[in-house]
Amino acid sequence: MNNSFWHRAQNINPKILYVIAMVVIAVPLLNPRTTLPISPNSQTKKAFDAVESAVKANPNQLVILDCQWSASTRGENQFQTEAIMEHLMRLHAKFALMGFVPQSRILSQKIADRLAPKYGYRYGIDYINWGFKPAFEQTLKGMAVDIPGTLKEDATHKPLVSFPIMRDVKNFKDVSLIVEVTPSSTLDSWLGLVQGINHTPVVYAPTAVMAPEGYPFLDSGQISGIITGVAGAGDYEALLKTKGSATQVATSLSAVYALIIFLIIIGNVGYYASRAAERKGFAE
């Protein structure tokens, strides 16, 4: 059995890797002073600018913050939702939370409950939670004609028409911006059924693994910006000039990426060194 250093470098016990990863993730999270300087990427800047311009151009229109995530991806989507919601509240934008995932009704409301007192936001007047609705595409088709008629009631089972914020909202023509926070392939439906018809700007906030799917639509101008995972949320916080949880998590993410790159290099060096040693052995 080959027990050389380079052979062992290729076969580190996964348990040791897990412990190292845990330490690397935990240190930046537990020490708030260890943050790397953030330089927001251009897609996040575009998303930020799209939110600013949509709200400023139509201050009385509604922004839809569609939260399609559950607890499983909250490590990314929660920070994105939080950063965007904070931005909307700073701009005094009226917004509606909605989701086609059952848990999102509660999870997005929790974020709103936490931020609302800071900005004096009142439920039903400044923002509303449309709650969970099944049948995603059929509901979008219905909303294109009549939002209150299709959704009927909010997350607390009260009729939508009874809320002041819904007074002038009939369909997507009364919506200034759609922000899609999602870990799934839901963007196509928003673009095909809503953006393509009404030309409502769409900002895409996917998990990092889903982001490449959004680039063709960014290139074609169908989406106005991409906030990529928790790194994008960190960028967004930098644009908001605040240091929230996403900034901290983004540093942790950087540390993990550094660890992965280091391990890949070690593995490859080990691979080539052991191959060279084997060749030398054969030659001798």
Binding site: S39, S72, K173, V256, Y257, I264
Partner: protein, 286 residues
Amino acid sequence: MQHPINHNFFTAIPQHGAVYWLYVFATVAAGIGVLALLQIIPTRYRKATIALFTFLGGLYYVAEFFLPTEKGTSVNALTEYQPFVGTLSQVIGAFTVGLGVISLVGMHTRSVVRQRAQWGYSACLIVAFLVMTVFHLLDSYYGDHVIIGQGGILRAAITNHDVYNFLFKGGLNSLESAMFALIGFFIISASYRAFRIRSFEASLLMISALVVMLGQVTLGTWLTGGLPTDGPYANFRFENMAQYILLNINTPAQRAVAFGIALGTLATSLRLWLSLERGFYFDQES
């Protein structure tokens, strides 16, 4: 310009109170009636009935999409019925959840009663399902008003909301997050083992992966932060290299994949709409 929405059977205004419950019970009764009827009729008629309604359901959306719109608008004569058809889809969706619950609980109850292999997991599922359902319903309809326990070793009364929060936040949320977080650890271990430069293609894949990774996080920006933001040297900043790969290499590939998926989806949708898909449930029965 939009069509004015006339309130008729298809665009009914939301109901409240007793009338609302009457609507709910009528819908449930009608749904159960339809399902019972489908069970009674012979299989060949059952298949034809389901195929007919599947076709009609799809036909509405196809017709609504392809019919010309009125001049200067994006609506035609069928557009105003979209909320109704959307509501119908939601109701059918709710029925499928109900059928799913009946099937799931039935299967696991049988497993517990007959004490099949690993029946303990089934018992766990049933208990978790019932407890979560009861406390979620209590929370939805009674808020924080049902006291579950007080006195004794408890400093304060425990309400239904406390139990629900414990189950939802402490249980479901944490377990789901933990499950996904484990994937992160697996990726670290897998990338260390799998990313070996064994060929030219593997080298390309690894280099582009590393550049995109570094271009997405603050570490990459920090590493090449000393380079100018403009001019030829700016091309070597990780965020710019990552941007180039994503926009100029990833985007065409994604477009090609999207076209392929769209064609496949169109073909599959047509087969489903016309009930031609192999494995269509009643093929197995007839």
